[in-house]
């Protein structure tokens, strides 16, 4: 079986603002079937999304689109191929939904607006309404319709549903799952990733600490942080994990960044673990990954 070439690739990318690096030496491929970047506030996931969109140049390393370095690419073309979908606040409050979608289309194709609205499950009359006359879920659908207007290859979605009510969220996820467009999804919500992404990468303090097929990664985490994330998600009728008062520990400046919060930390963790293969298609940056998996 030949592995399809990644749509986008980060190669040893370090990103930051000013002189402060917030993403360190990250390599990952955006492949078919959906890729999820999972992380909590400050993990660097949105910074990575910005770099993948060509909005932030790496301090070192490179982002590749096919075989071309993003730095040297014709951005007009790229911007059509790779479209962002952020939270719905990105709509112009003075423009009707229809005008917002039409703006993304070439003049000759503006008659496609009704078809695009239909594709995202919106009734035709929504075209005449402004954002404040729409519900949160409808606004998010307009944002998606706008992104789809240019027939992109890849959608980069940053927390596309986290501000929505759960019933609305479920319907937006159904919509995204049925689109057939490739996607890179950035979220703190593990359930959203398992729904939409075949592959997942877990970020902690600007580093990828674990990667692998989503289902396996969540069923049998190879990194204590993935385990902590998974077990912290409240389950219907389940008990929450005991509060330990550890979450405020800052990422360690040396060695494994997670070690000050890690229940499994040992002396060896003062030495930074390199990401390494821990199973078929799985990588983890933890000295004790094998113990976790066994």
């Amino acid at each position: 079986m030949t592995v399809p070439a990644p749509v986008l690739r980060a190669e040893r990318v370090t990103l930051g603002y000013g002189r402060t690096a917030v993403v360190h030496d990250v390599s990952l491929d955006v492949t078919e079937g959906g890729v999820g970047l999972i992380g909590e506030s400050g993990s660097g996931k949105t910074t990575l999304a910005r770099a993948f969109l060509g909005l932030l140049a790496p301090m070192s390393g490179a982002i590749w689109y096919g075989d071309q370095n993003l730095k040297k690419l014709d951005m007009r073309r790229f911007r059509r191929d790779v479209q962002p979908v952020f939270q719905a606040e990105a709509l112009d409050p003075r423009m009707s939904a229809g005008a917002s979608v039409a703006e993304a289309l070439p003049r000759k194709e503006r008659d496609r607006v009704p078809a695009l609205l239909e594709k995202v499950g919106l009734p035709a009359e929504v075209a005449g309404r402004r954002p404040h006359q729409l519900s949160g879920g409808q606004r998010q659908r307009v944002v998606i319709a706008r992104a789809l207007a240019v027939s992109p290859r890849l959608l980069i979605l940053d927390e596309p549903t986290s501000a929505l009510d759960v019933t609305v969220q479920a319907r937006i996820l159904d919509l995204l799952a049925g689109l057939g467009t490739e996607r890179l999804l950035i979220t703190h919500n593990l359930a959203v990733v398992s729904r939409l992404c075949r592959t997942a990468h877990v970020l902690f303090a600007g580093r990828v600490v674990e990667s692998g097929p989503t289902a396996e990664l969540l069923a049998r985490p190879a990194h204590p942080y993935t385990l902590a994330l998974r077990d912290a998600v409240p389950k219907l009728g389940g008990a929450p994990p005991p509060a330990r008062g550890r979450t405020e520990a800052r990422p360690a400046a040396t060695g494994c960044p997670f070690r000050l919060r890690c229940p499994l930390a040992v002396a060896a963790c003062e030495r930074a673990p390199e990401p390494r293969e821990v199973g078929e298609g799985r990588r983890a940056a933890c000295h004790r990954a094998e113990e976790l998996l066994s």
């Binding site: 969220q169 479920a170 409240p234 009728g237 008990a239 929450p240 509060a243 008062g245």
Partner: protein, 245 residues
């Protein structure tokens, strides 16, 4: 601790919340669940007499005070001191130029609570924070720390009931688990009455004894959490449960 009968909150002719019955006793946790616009937050605000501009009718008794008829002075005595309100983003309510310890001391003075430095530190430790946080400014603490500080403040003041409006929805999931863990413990150890407003049924199921499900201002279903979540009788509750990822 909290007793509500036939509470109605109206703006003009529109009823935004109607709660026939709601009781929270010491050491109990009741959750009001619903989506945007369901009236869940309005209900919570009405318990503290904080629904300005609305017409409120019915019977609301909180810590022995009849909220709808009590004079403002009487309400100020219970607000904060006996009934604490924990909001989604407590940082917004903390003065940015005041260290948390000074802030706590002022709140204690305001309610004539005589607490030693030691007692303040203990309140902070009870929510799993390092007492050193009392020397910090609001911008120097994380969202989860600020949330727990708000709970510590309630403890230092000797609150008997905590009303929490989406206390953890802005927090990362590992931090959320920690805040919920703290609330669960305080309920048991100190007999705190807890009224939780949330849209997250899974979260609610890990802590609440009873659940009220609200939709468009009305309570569509209520009962013991285990029963409502295992055998929902209203289609909307079923829809909420099915939407859970």
């Amino acid at each position: 601790m909290i007793e509500v009968r036939d509470l109605r909150v109206r703006y003009g002719t529109r009823t935004v919340a109607h709660v026939p019955e709601l009781d929270v006793g010491a050491g109990e946790c009741v959750a009001v669940v619903g989506e945007s616009g369901s009236g869940k937050s309005t209900t919570l605000m009405a318990l503290l007499g904080l629904t300005e501009g609305a017409e409120v009718s019915g019977h609301v008794r909180v810590c022995g005070v009849d909220v709808l008829t009590a004079p403002a002075r009487r309400l100020r005595e219970i607000r904060g001191a006996r009934v604490a309100l924990v909001m989604q983003s407590p940082q917004a309510a903390l003065s940015p130029t005041t260290r948390l310890g000074v802030l706590m001391r002022r709140a204690l003075d305001l309610h004539d609570v005589d607490a030693s430095e030691r007692a303040m530190a203990e309140a902070v430790e009870a929510v799993l924070l390092d007492p050193a946080i009392l020397r910090r400014y609001p911008h120097e603490v994380s969202g989860g720390q600020a949330q727990r500080f708000a709970i510590a403040l309630a403890l230092a003041l000797g609150a008997e009931a905590v009303l929490a409006d989406e206390p953890t929805s802005a927090l990362d999931v590992t931090v959320q688990a920690e805040v919920v863990g703290v609330l669960r413990r305080l309920r048991k150890e100190r007999g705190l009455a807890l009224l939780l407003v949330s849209h997250d049924l899974a979260l609610v199921s890990t802590i609440a004894d009873r659940v009220l499900v609200m939709k468009d201002g009305e309570v569509v279903e209520s009962g013991p959490a285990a029963r409502v979540l295992a055998e929902p009788s209203h289609p909307y509750t079923r829809e909420l449960l099915e939407a859970l990822p």
